[in-house]
């Protein structure tokens, strides 16, 4: 394994990072209205959200990328492979984040909602001041785990032409006829990327836990 090989693989790094962060961000934001719909009192809306979440999660990511890139890209508006991957993975992340949020919301004691109503805080304030900060703490470990999972999921983007880490690894492996060493190196990069996320979430979790604990 030469430094040249390492640099070859490193070229994929920015794409992996950009795709992961972009899709996670999109998912984290879109997950909010989605979970709101999922918990809505309006039955059709709730059902629609549920069906949407199940279908998005039920179909493998590679198919979503094909549908978005080749389906939409051909008939509706041209879209670059990167943007198609971002859209597809963002969609899947939204469905999964909505479920993570749902779990976190369920863990908030109903007394908190009641106290907010009794204090006449509006819905918005109840959500942003009272519920979201507490749900955030509960969702953190799952969300961090999911972020790490998503990072590896971005490898599917290479099928439609985004030259991220896995693509570079695959390319190098084919060109040099070496499998294991190359993939070990690629794996190292993924682990190195995941460690700060894992560490940050553990530290933040510990800190937030200590703050509210006795």
């Amino acid at each position: 394994m030469s430094t040249a090989d390492i640099f070859a693989i490193l070229r994929g790094l920015p794409w992996t990072v950009a795709l992961t962060l972009g899709a996670f961000l999109a998912g984290a934001i879109l997950g909010i209205p989605l979970v709101a719909a999922r918990q809505s009192r309006i039955l059709p809306l709730r059902l629609a959200a549920m069906v949407f979440i199940q279908i998005v999660r039920g179909i493998p990511p590679i198919l979503w990328l094909f549908i978005i890139f080749f389906g939409l890209g051909m008939s509706v508006f041209p879209i670059s492979p990167f943007n198609a991957a971002l859209a597809g993975l963002g969609l899947i992340a939204a469905a999964n984040m909505a479920e993570i949020y749902r779990g976190a919301l369920a863990s908030i004691h109903f007394g908190q909602w009641e106290a907010s109503s009794a204090l006449n805080l509006g819905r918005w304030s109840t959500l942003t001041d009272v519920v979201a900060p507490q749900a955030f703490r509960v969702a953190l470990p799952s969300a961090a785990s999911y972020l790490i999972g998503l990072m590896k999921e971005t490898a599917v983007a290479s099928t439609i032409g985004v030259s991220e880490l896995a693509f570079q690894g695959n390319q190098l492996s084919q060109l040099t006829f070496r499998g294991l060493e190359v993939f070990a190196l690629v794996g190292m990069f993924y682990i190195l990327l995941s460690l700060p996320v894992a560490w940050l979430s553990r530290v933040a979790d510990g800190y937030l836990q200590a703050k509210v604990a006795r």
Binding site: G111, Q112, A115, L119, N120, G122, R137, V212, R214
Partner: protein, 282 residues
């Protein structure tokens, strides 16, 4: 007790002149001409086919302190929660000051908001916001509901915290405060909105005797400033000595109601006698 009614409301005259006048009279002499601050008509509430509140009629005068006692499951908490529409009732009317809500019609946002603004509630389990400091707990609703500036809200909060003896805990998180302290923070938080009425749900039963005493002292003081209060409690001394009126509930109905001393010392109903005996036997 006279004239002090407005003191609690930070100078905001939310009551009609009638009410203010009425508050000057002794709360327990119910004059015909005086208008009650709270009026419930045939209030009822069901869960499935279980009737929890069964046509409750109730009037509370401005400045009156009403104690509600009764066995577990009799609907005391549900009654409090229906008064501020935390739990919308199924039938009847709730009137507080100028706002009147009919349970049959869905309540509008703005009416609900006006109603809740005039009602402060203190929960048995405190329900403080664990992720905010004590000060932010008290200031939050002032900023969001009354639109006060952060500085004004914090000033008022500090004033209230000092009043309940907790100025030094302002920057602490609620989780690190003792039960008695948490309950007093909850009182300060409810007072911060300058409500016309305060509802208390078993404010001391989770506390040890000394802590309970602290909270009772704060409530007694509050009663003395003329605050209208409805208190669900098992503290017999509070019912007997602080409240003006005592009401006994069982199975979703009011079974007895009257001036505190009368009801506590000389109950008329068999069920009341039985309950009070249990209380005294402990």
């Amino acid at each position: 007790m006279d004239g002090a009614v407005l003191h609690m409301r930070g100078g905001k005259p939310t009551m009609t002149e009638d009410d203010a006048l009425a508050a000057k009279g002794a709360p327990s002499e119910k004059g015909q001409a005086r208008k009650p601050l709270i009026k419930l008509d045939k209030l009822s509430k069901h869960y499935g086919n279980h009737t929890v509140l069964d046509g409750i009629d109730l009037e509370v005068m401005p400045g009156e302190v009403l104690a509600i006692i009764g066995p577990s499951g009799s609907g005391k908490s549900t009654l409090l929660r229906c008064i501020n529409y935390l739990e919308p009732p199924d039938g009847g009317h709730v009137t507080i000051g100028d706002i009147s809500l009919n349970a049959a019609a869905p309540a509008g946002r703005s009416e609900l908001s006006t109603l809740r603004r005039s009602v402060g509630m203190v929960f048995q389990s405190f329900n403080l916001f664990p992720h905010m400091t004590v000060l932010r707990n008290v200031s939050l609703a002032q900023e969001r509901v009354l639109g006060r500036s952060r500085k004004n809200a914090d000033d008022r909060s500090m004033q209230l915290l000092s009043r309940v003896g907790l100025a030094d805990k302002a920057e602490q998180f609620p989780g690190r405060c003792s039960g008695g302290q948490q309950q007093r923070i909850a009182i300060a938080r409810a007072l911060a909105l300058d409500p016309d009425v305060m509802l208390f749900d078993e404010p001391t039963s989770a506390l040890d005797p000394e802590l309970g005493l602290e909270v009772l002292a704060v409530m007694r003081e509050l009663a003395e400033t003329g605050m209208t209060m409805i208190v669900v409690t098992h503290e017999m001394s509070f019912a007997e000595n602080v409240s003006d009126t005592v009401m006994i509930m069982a199975d979703g109905k009011i079974i007895e109601k009257g001036p505190s001393q009368d009801v506590m010392r000389n109950p008329q109903q068999e069920r009341t006698k039985r309950f009070l005996r249990a209380v005294h036997d402990r």
